[in-house]
């Protein structure tokens, strides 16, 4: 088996096989429910099979590409910036990464639009398209800025060696304290915005940044200090969006 892995001709086959194995459970669940529980045939079987083929190919390319491209690039950057020892540039870099990956995130754009509709029907904002669009845009900026701030503080935390759980638990307490004051229409949006902000592209890069930093600063353990950036980046949007809601709509 080991010699098979080394053969360069066969290696792509194993990558594809691994991706297929990762996707198998979800296909089985969806097909099983469709055929056994709902007892209906698939509406478009050909398109479905084509789509699954694209999924497998896409997952294979994505994970190979990350290992070849963005992972080493991000790791090398984190190393180089840390070795330079310039705290300002490191902070700017962390903020830029957080902001730039979040502001264009498709899932966030979709959710901000949805949240604007909710706010409009609840008469929290003025009716009309332009007010909705402005609200959605502000929401996206609030989330992007909060992810940037989270990464900035996360990098400072790694450099200074503050324990990660103080920050996360502090964040939890802030969320719990803010919730009673936030208007109920924004609570669901705020809670979900944290999960939505951290996307497929952001997460691997953030982890590379944290682990890269922690492994080249003396006295930091990459396992203990390197992780935790993503968790903080999905906590701050909750706080900031709720704060934005309180600021905008007042205490109700």
């Amino acid at each position: 088996m080991q010699s098979l892995y080394r053969s360069p001709l066969l290696r792509p086959f194993f990558w594809v096989r691994d991706s297929a194995r990762d996707l198998l459970p979800i296909v089985v669940v969806v097909a099983g429910f469709q055929l056994l529980v709902l007892q209906k045939p698939f509406p478009d079987l050909g398109g479905m099979l084509g789509g699954i083929f694209m999924l497998i190919l896409g997952l294979t390319l994505f994970s190979r590409g990350l290992e070849m491209g963005l992972f080493p690039l991000g790791g090398a950057l984190a190393h180089a910036l840390a070795r330079k020892g310039n705290l300002l540039w490191l902070s700017v870099f962390a903020f830029a990464m957080g902001f730039s990956t979040t502001v264009a995130e498709p899932a966030l754009v979709a959710m901000a639009g949805k949240a604007a509709e909710v706010a409009s029907t609840a008469r929290l904002i003025e009716p009309g398209e332009s007010a909705q669009a402005a609200y959605a845009l502000h929401l996206r900026y609030v989330v992007a800025v909060s992810v940037g701030i989270a990464l900035l503080f996360g990098v400072l935390r790694i450099i200074r060696g503050w324990p990660v759980h103080h920050w996360i638990l502090g964040g939890y307490c802030t969320v719990a304290l803010l919730t009673p004051f936030a208007p109920s229409e924004i609570i669901g949006v705020a809670y979900d915005s944290g999960g939505v902000a951290t996307s497929t592209v952001t997460v691997p890069l953030t982890v590379v940044l944290g682990v890269g930093l922690a492994s080249c600063i003396r006295g930091r353990n990459p396992m203990v200090d390197g992780f935790g950036l993503v968790a903080f980046a999905s906590l701050t949007p909750i706080v900031f969006v709720m704060g934005y809601g309180v600021f905008l709509f007042g205490n109700r």
């Binding site: 479905m48 896409g58 180089a80 830029a96 759980h165 229409e185 809670y191 999960g195 497929t200 203990v224």
Partner: protein
């Protein structure tokens, strides 16, 4: 023809998603560090792979699993399927939605296993811990957490318990667990929750929540439909810490027995290939 249009729009959308980050990295490399990028050809090919892979993944998802999953979430919460009536009876018990909970749990579990971001993080964790944290059990622990979380979230929508109560209770459990969990896993456990909620899970879960809230009497989709995702980010934290506690407990018991046995080989990199592969590639 239609699929070509979709591919093109996904190409453009993903480009907008990837450009800022690549620009930030290359900009810092060239302007702040003023160093050429080492091995830049291989990296460019890798970024191209990432881009094409993400586009194919998104279009494939929209072609195959998403429409079926969304239709299924609608059908499973349809009163016609659940009660054989046009409208859900107002006195329906929470237990009559059994299929919904089962579907929520299974879809959470399987979508998490397919999540590319989780795969990447699990690989990194294996590398960093020098093989102590194996990717597959970690992903299983996270998937179990997401399954429990989404099933509970569906239960919350059905019963109408305010979301803040559930989440704050969850926070308290996490705080208590943090005190007892092995220190090495704490940060990774926090991260593993947020990692799961990206490309695959979010659309499926959001569709399930909105569909449920729309059909259950007395629920407002605007107020109750959102808020499933936060459940999916909270429960993996608990299961990953619980898993680490379990492993620590078991290994303490067997450590005396195994003291003379040779160490197990370390296997990283997507769980299957060996360390040598990283340097032996093209």
């Amino acid at each position: 023809m239609e699929i070509l249009l979709e591919l093109l729009s996904a190409l453009a959308g993903t480009f907008m998603d990837l450009v800022p980050i690549v620009a930030a990295m290359v900009g810092f490399q060239l302007l702040v560090l003023r160093q050429p990028i080492a091995n830049w050809r291989r990296m460019a090919i890798g970024i191209l792979y990432t881009y094409i892979g993400l586009v194919l993944f998104i279009v494939g998802l929209e072609k195959s699993l998403l429409p079926v999953g969304e239709a299924m979430a609608r059908q499973l919460s349809d009163p016609l399927f659940l009660f054989n009536a046009a409208q859900a009876p107002p006195d329906a018990l929470w237990s009559s939605y059994g299929w919904v909970y089962l579907f929520a749990a299974l879809i959470g579990f399987s979508a998490t296993l397919a999540e590319p971001a989780l795969l990447a993080v699990a690989t990194k964790a294996c590398d960093v811990s020098q093989g102590a944290i194996k990717p597959f059990p970690l992903r299983m622990a996270v998937a179990t957490g997401v399954a429990i979380g989404i099933a509970l979230g569906a239960f919350r929508i059905v019963t109408g318990i305010p979301i803040a109560y559930c989440i704050v209770t969850g926070y308290v459990v996490v705080i208590i667990q943090t005190c007892y969990a092995p220190r090495m896993i704490v940060a990774l456990a926090y991260d593993s929750g947020s990692v799961t909620t990206s490309t695959v899970t979010v659309p499926l879960v959001a569709a399930l929540g909105l569909g449920l809230a729309a059909t259950i009497p007395g629920r407002n989709p605007a107020l109750d439909g959102l808020g499933l995702i936060v459940f999916a980010t909270l429960f993996p934290v608990m299961t990953v810490m619980g898993y680490a506690q379990l492993v620590e407990c078991l290994s303490m018991r067997t450590v005396a027995r195994r003291r003379n046995a040779p160490p197990l080989p370390k296997r990283c990199g997507l769980g299957r290939k060996t360390k040598t592969d990283e340097h032996g590639g093209r």
